[in-house]
């Protein structure tokens, strides 16, 4: 049984249909990436899963229908969404941001362990734990956003363009850490990216999205070598 199974998913911004009935699935422990140009519906797909937009169709998580649940309920099921723009709580400290990530968790000692775990992945955050999160650099805020998601002990992470607006070196650093998180924790991730190259290197599966429809899907390694994909998304 796939961890996440999406069927005929449509999403709407007011009256405008932004997704026209897409199907995809994701196995436990795997990384699936959704690629596409600006406006293809990548962010909308993630927002639809977290019910930040109005949707139709079926979304099954661990075999259970989650369509229609409120966003906070979906988070409590163990789906951690790292949103577009990173969603930093800018007035709160780094520490408090992580604490908020663990909002749904009961055991204080587990949470304290997890804070240390996040600092182990992102030592730069530990250096800045008392700092107001709005003053962090873009890369640090992205690290904080991923750290905040880890604090939920997620069964599935939804990552919206971790590379957005970052220098290539920082992007590389963050993707290396994501690879480590995947290896250490067996985390399942649904990753949305414009940077197809780096996403296909990390992911097992990929879906190509064009104006609200899935136009191609398959193993990441196969898509990487596909002629059309290479010319359209990888640019060489």
């Amino acid at each position: 049984m796939p961890l996440l199974k999406v069927k005929g998913l449509k999403a709407y911004y007011r009256q405008t249909e932004a997704l026209h009935g897409i199907d995809f699935e994701l196995d436990e422990g795997s990384i699936t990436t959704i690629l596409g140009a600006n406006g293809a519906g990548k962010t909308t797909t993630l927002r639809a899963i977290s019910r930040m937009v109005r949707t139709e169709g079926s979304i099954k998580f661990q075999g259970e229908e989650i369509t229609g649940l409120a966003s906070e309920k979906i988070a409590r099921l163990g789906i951690a969404h790292v949103p577009e723009g990173r969603g930093t709580f800018v007035r709160q400290s780094v520490e408090e941001n992580l604490e908020l990530g663990a909002y749904t968790r009961k055991s204080k000692s587990d949470v304290a362990d997890d804070v240390e775990r996040v600092y182990a992945y992102f030592p730069r955050l530990k250096e800045r734990l008392k700092q107001q999160a709005g003053t962090l650099s873009g890369g640090e805020q992205q690290m904080l956003a991923i750290g905040r998601a880890l604090m939920l002990r997620p069964k599935l992470m939804l990552l919206d363009e971790p590379s957005f607006g970052l220098a290539p070196l920082i992007t590389q650093e963050i993707y290396e850490i994501m690879a480590r998180i995947r290896k250490d924790e067996g985390a399942s991730m649904l990753l949305v990216e414009q940077n197809a190259n780096i996403a296909l290197n990390l992911a097992d599966h990929a879906y190509l999205l064009e104006t609200g429809n899935v136009v191609m899907s398959g193993e990441a390694s196969i898509l990487r070598d596909d002629e059309t994909v290479r010319r359209t998304y990888l640019g060489y």
Partner: protein, 291 residues
């Protein structure tokens, strides 16, 4: 010198009541980006409830505690039933709703309890264990009690999980939802707390200004002045602003020629002055944001 001290202490007492109102206003402002113009009338209504309970039970403290608890619950209900439906409506609609609430509470109080002034006894005993010509027992009680209350509120927001979640829900509702916070309930809780804090202010001010349906209109204006003066995005600043406005007002009444007639004018001048010269207020933080 004695007069100066007396004025300052009395100013701190009335100022701590302004601080309660300012804090209530700022709490709602941070969550909704609007001033709740009905904050004062809600507090006035709570005070009438306290008065009615006092008539029924004979104990001012029991009446006070029950009225504050009822105000907390009523604040939650008002948010859920009246404010939530207009949450995503245009600004203008929301302001109309707040003004509508103001008039509803004002008229309801007049209808239930008539427009004659009533007296509500002080929460604090006449005999404070020592003699003082500088401050009345009620004023001393007001200062100590509100400072303790504000400290509790501060600790709640600083150190509890719910307090942190409330701040997060107000500042960044989308992100708060994504970590599992029920944003709607946090906002409702904020209304409850603001309403309860306002009720405390009302019960404390009633022995000074007499209880009647328009009791809080002046106090609310001073509260707004305090909130703006301290900074509308800074709860601590709003409290400090309330205290400062109380003291300045008392000094102005005494030392400015004709000042005794000009109390409210003074509050308005302060509001306009702050908006013109320092819109963020004295302690308002400018939020640093990098993208």
């Amino acid at each position: 010198m004695d007069l100066f001290l007396q004025l300052t202490l009395a100013g701190l007492a009335i100022g701590s009541i302004y601080a309660c109102v300012a804090l209530a206003v700022v709490m709602i402002y941070q969550a909704t980006d609007h001033f709740n113009f009905a904050q004062g009338e809600m507090a006035m209504f709570s005070t009438f409830v306290a008065w009615a309970l006092f008539q029924a039970t004979g104990s001012i403290w029991l009446a006070f505690v029950l009225a504050v608890a009822a105000s907390f619950i009523a604040g939650i209900i008002i948010e859920r039933v009246i404010v939530k439906p207009v949450e995503s409506a245009p600004v203008f609609n929301q302001i109309i709703v707040f003004i509508g609430l103001l008039m509803i509470f004002n008229n309801l109080a007049g209808w239930f309890w008539e427009h004659t002034t009533k007296t509500l006894p002080s929460l604090f005993p006449e005999d404070m264990g020592f003699e003082s010509t500088l401050i009345s027992s009620h004023n001393l009680g007001v200062i100590v009690f509100t400072l303790a209350l504000l400290l509790v509120v501060f600790l709640f927001f600083k150190f509890t999980k719910v307090g942190l979640a409330m701040k997060a829900a107000a500042a960044n509702p989308d992100s708060a939802r994504l970590v599992g916070v029920s944003v709607g309930w946090m906002l409702a809780l904020g209304w409850g707390l603001a309403s309860a804090i306002g009720a405390v202010g009302g019960v404390l001010v009633a022995p000074i200004v007499f209880l009647e349906p328009n009791m809080m209109s002046g106090v609310l204006l001073y509260g707004f002045a305090g909130a703006l003066f301290g900074g509308v995005n800074s709860p601590g600043g709003a409290v400090a602003g309330g205290l400062i406005v109380g003291v300045l007002e008392n000094w102005a009444r005494q030392y400015v020629p004709g000042g005794s007639e000009l109390g409210l004018t003074f509050a308005l001048v302060l509001i306009v002055g702050v908006l013109m010269f320092k819109p963020a207020g004295l302690f308002g933080r400018v939020v640093v944001k990098r993208v």
